[in-house]
């Protein structure tokens, strides 16, 4: 089956540590399901950014995930649902997200990953959902976006859907 032929799901997971994101990343890669790609992005305590990507789509001759701005899928809030007495964490709105998408990839990733935090993005065909989603066990917050259509457009749309859900705090 080609990427264009079925619904594309994009999962975003937010983490408070790189180790937890790496664990889920490895788990996803080895879950046996067909993936379009997976990216783990993290920023250490000194502010250094690390991106690790497994771009299955490239193997299939499709455009690379990075080409659709994949690493911008993560943004800082909200990793936690409620963190302090009486505090309700604000979330970036859709408008802000679109602005982020227009920036350069590296800059965007740097802007959107909190210091010490990490994120995992996994794209996969809907048929793999039952295998992929249980493999992600350590995300503090996990959302899944979906879209159909041509693969680049589908990835973008699914990513945007996931981002919106992340911003709204839904899963």
């Amino acid at each position: 089956m080609k990427i264009d032929d079925e619904t594309t799901d994009v999962m975003i997971g937010g983490y408070l540590s790189k180790a937890a994101a790496d664990e889920d990343y490895e788990s996803v890669l080895h879950c046996g399901a067909r993936l379009w790609g997976a990216v783990v992005v993290s920023k250490d305590l000194e502010g250094n950014l690390t991106v690790e990507e497994s771009d299955h789509a490239v193997e299939e001759g499709a455009a690379g995930l990075a080409s659709v701005g994949f690493v911008v899928g993560l943004f800082a809030p909200p990793l936690l649902a409620a963190t302090a007495i009486g505090a309700v964490i604000g979330a970036a709105g859709g408008e802000a997200l679109h602005k982020k998408l227009e920036k350069g990839i590296g800059e965007k990733a740097g802007d959107t990953i909190p210091i010490g935090g990490a994120g995992l993005i996994v794209a996969y065909p809907r048929s793999a959902a039952e295998t992929v989603e249980p493999a992600v066990t350590r995300a503090i917050q996990k959302v899944v976006g979906e879209a159909g259509g041509k693969h680049v457009k589908a990835l973008k749309s699914a990513l945007a859907d996931a981002q919106t859900k992340m911003a709204e705090g839904t899963s």
Partner: protein, 802 residues
């Protein structure tokens, strides 16, 4: 000084008994004039040791899993008391220990951090209750305190004093340690006598880093040697009060790793194992029953393997930390033995001041201050945050400020229920005591079961020294000590009970003991929960304490409080309830829950100062004394002189990477980093370089609103020109740190921004002329009042964990 009147202190100098003629012709000197008070003949040295936040079932000496060879050595050469009692909170126990009086009666119904508006909660020692070290000092003892103090209110821990609330003011000739309730063991903000000396220089020595427990022993030994170098006979009183085992649990991996795998069985099994050993040792009667686990603690078997590993490491570190404390006390004892004075030194060693602490909540934490700031983190979040800072191998290192799960504390309090803060039950009120005095205690290795209380320690020391309790001190009539001596029980295991009655009260949890009967009244609030829903039932007009559920135990038959007899003996419940209220009134316990009055609108005046100036050489401003930047808009403005070629370094920094802020220059760029308790870290960097010459930089935080932990926008300015900005979605609502201070021109101790960790303390290479904090008041008076209330409620949460 025979015939000296010791009932009025200071002891009066003798009148001149010689002759002073117009010339030396016929004059007779009186050399007594230049003498000084000496203790009664034979008065021994005293070493008083207090371990922090530990339970009855922690030390191996009392059947626990933590190896305490020195405690056992002293117990084997002395006597151990298995019915010794404390209050269920840090400062109250310390106040009672050092005054011989009930804690509320001397103003310490709660912790020293916050001084309340009721007599029993003022955190201010009445002048008619002179403490033990003052009495000993005035009677000729050399006195010194090392380690944790925790009897000085927040806001009074700086160079302006007042110093009568500091250790020297309580009668210690010398003090080296921490004024607050808890501290990093690696980079404490130290006090020495009447000065905050900050982070020790050895902190910066990677080869041989500073460690407070080691330094405490070093300093104690050095002080004793110095005393002996001057005076071969003068007795000394050493109060050795460890920061261990209070959070943060800091110890080298070599100590923690001794316990690898020893707690994999979990807290339920650990309690059973400890209980069996306690029976073997006889510190618990053979017919005692192990109390059951409350539903507040999860069953170990209900946890995932990942969490079991996480929690097991928490306890391994706690155990190593505690064994290290035993080791360092042992070093002090060895030094006294080497002087040949061990036989004439009375050692009183209390293992725990309030039972083990449950303030780590169920999850434990990579940073104990997250709880005190009301940040609800799940077990998975805690696990990931510990991974962020190095994982389980780094638990105990300086990069985290860890606390363990409350369930480990409960296990440490075996065989009893509950723990710290729960004054109604033995888990929070019964701790081991060992007394060693070879000159007088001849039944070495025996056990005593007389009901004793921490208020009895000071009268016992005075009794042993032959020093009467003074009638007046500085001309002020003294309130008698409430404790009584238990000296008789040191030499006679069959000595009659000297204490037949005692009240207990901590945060509304209360008990009345009389003739073996123990009335327990625990509020239904879980000790580590301070949510509005948990607090609301105790509001004025809502709470009727006489409707609280009561339990009744008869301790001679029920060592552990396992058999509630309240239903069978309503008359005893009534009698003890009435007696409690009498005692509560007598000893200034009332009003109950005065500690929490700020939750119910009883607030101190709102501070009026909104501008705070710090010159460039100010360092080590204690964490409770920094400008109140929490939950509001504020700015930090710094006047700098930048040399040609630029400058780098810290302009101002508060606390460290686990909570704090720093404004600094690196690579020519003005940078602001803000750590929201190590959970969120925000950073803003100027987009242009800092110019040379006289420069004014500013960081402005514009809060979203008048809410705790409010987010907001940060803007950086150079000479009033905006040069950078960014958002902070969350800010610290209560307090950045329990111990780390604020510095101008450098970042002492652990740094706020790890990006300059390799340059710490990253002193500014230009000149910081001054730093000014301007606090913006909220436009609504009600908002200000609400945040004022919130700040003080947060302080309660902090204080109760200290």
């Amino acid at each position: 000084m025979g015939g000296v009147d010791r009932s009025h202190l200071p002891i009066r100098r003798p009148a001149f008994a010689g002759t002073a003629n117009r010339t030396l012709d016929g004059s007779q000197p009186d050399w007594n004039l230049i003498g000084h008070p000496t203790p009664p003949e034979g008065a021994p040295n005293v070493l008083l040791v207090l371990i922090d936040d530990a339970g009855f079932g922690n030390a191996s000496t009392f059947g626990g899993p933590i190896d305490t060879p020195n405690y056992t050595r002293i117990a084997d050469g002395g006597v151990k008391f298995n019915r010794f009692h404390v209050t269920a909170l840090c400062s109250p126990t310390r106040a009672a220990l050092l005054t011989g009086r009930n804690s509320h009666a001397v103003g310490f119904g709660s912790v020293g951090e916050f001084a309340g508006g009721f007599p029993g909660y003022s955190a201010t020692l009445p002048r008619d209750c002179a403490p033990l070290p003052r009495i000993l000092s005035d009677n000729g003892y050399s006195t010194a305190a090392f380690g944790k103090w925790h009897l000085t209110p927040d806001g009074q821990q700086g160079p302006a004093g007042p110093f009568d609330r500091w250790p020297n003011g309580w009668g210690f000739d010398y003090f080296y340690g921490i004024l607050g309730g808890g501290s990093s063991q690696w980079d404490p903000c130290l006090a020495e006598n009447q000065k905050i000396i900050g982070t020790p220089a050895e902190f910066y020595d990677d080869e041989n880093p500073y460690y407070l427990p080691d330094a405490m022993a070093d300093k104690t030994i050095e002080w004793v040697h110095d005393i002996r170098a001057q005076d071969a006979h003068k007795p000394f009183f050493v109060y050795f009060s460890t920061g261990c085992s209070h959070a943060p649990h800091h110890v080298g991996a070599d100590w923690a790793d001794k316990y690898k795998g020893k707690f994999d069985q979990g807290w339920d099994a650990l309690r059973e194992e400890t209980f069996a050993r306690q029976k073997e040792l006889g510190v618990v009667p053979a017919d005692a029953v192990l109390t059951a686990r409350d539903d507040a603690f999860p069953a170990w078997d209900s946890l995932s393997d990942e969490l079991k590993a996480f929690y097991a490491r928490q306890m391994e570190v706690y155990a190593g930390f505690s064994e290290n404390a035993d080791h360092n006390v042992g070093r002090v004892i060895d030094a006294i033995e080497e002087l040949g004075e061990l036989d004439n030194t009375v050692i009183l060693w209390v293992w725990g001041d309030n039972g083990a602490s449950m303030e780590g909540t169920i999850t434990g934490s990579f940073n104990e201050l997250t709880m005190q700031n009301g940040i609800p983190l799940t077990d998975e979040m805690q696990l990931q945050l510990s991974e962020r800072y190095g994982g389980l191998d780094a638990w105990g290192a300086a990069i985290m400020d860890p606390h363990y799960s409350a369930a480990w504390a409960w296990a440490g309090n075996t065989p009893f229920q509950w723990g710290k803060q729960v004054g109604s039950h033995l888990g929070g009120t019964r701790n081991p005591l060992v007394v060693h005095w070879p000159d007088r205690v001849t039944e070495a290795g025996s056990q005593r079961s007389q009901f004793t209380h921490v208020i009895d320690v000071a009268p016992t020391i005075l009794d042993i020294a032959g020093i009467p309790h003074p009638e007046t001190v500085d001309g002020i009539d003294q309130e008698p000590m409430h404790g009584t001596t238990f000296t008789a029980s040191l030499t006679d295991g069959a000595a009659p009970e000297h204490r037949t009655q005692q009240y207990f009260e901590t945060v509304g949890n209360r008990a009345m003991y009389k003739d073996g009967w123990w009335l327990a009244v625990k509020t239904e609030r879980i000790p580590w929960v301070l949510t509005p829903a948990a607090i609301q039932p105790y509001a004025p007009g809502v709470w009727d304490p006489d409707r609280d559920p009561v339990e009744l135990y008869y301790l001679p038959d029920d060592f552990t409080q396992a058999n509630d007899l309240a239903a069978q003996h309503p008359e005893k419940v009534e009698e003890l309830t009435a007696l409690f209220w009498e005692e509560a009134e007598r000893y200034k316990v009332l009003p109950l829950l005065a500690t929490m009055s700020t939750f119910f609108g009883m607030l101190p005046p709102i501070p009026e100062d909104t501008k705070f100036e710090f010159r460039g050489d100010v360092q080590n401003v204690m964490s409770g004394m920094i400008p109140r930047v929490y939950n509001r808009s504020y700015s930090i403005t710094a006047d700098l002189v930048i040399p040609d070629g630029g400058a780098e370094g810290v302009i101002v920094a508060e606390a460290d990477h686990l909570g704090g802020f720093t404004l600094y220059v690196k690579d020519g760029k003005l940078t602001h980093t803000y750590s929201m308790m190590g959970v969120f870290i925000f950073q803003q960097v100027a987009e242009e370089d800092l110019p040379s010459g006289d420069v004014t930089v500013r960081m402005e935080f514009a809060a979203d609103g008048a809410t705790p932990a409010t987010g907001g926008e940060v803007t950086l300015f150079i000479d009033d020109r905006p040069v950078g900005k960014g958002r902070m979605d969350h800010t610290v609502p209560v307090r950045f740190s329990g111990y780390a201070g604020m510095d101008i021109g450098r970042d002492n101790g652990g740094v706020v921004d790890r990006a300059y960790e390799d340059k710490k303390p990253f002193a500014f290479t230009g000149t910081v002329k001054k730093v000014v904090f301007d606090l913006n008041l909220h436009t609504s008076a009600q908002d200000e009042l609400d945040l004022h209330a919130s700040a003080h409620q947060g302080q309660v949460a902090h204080g109760l964990s200290a």
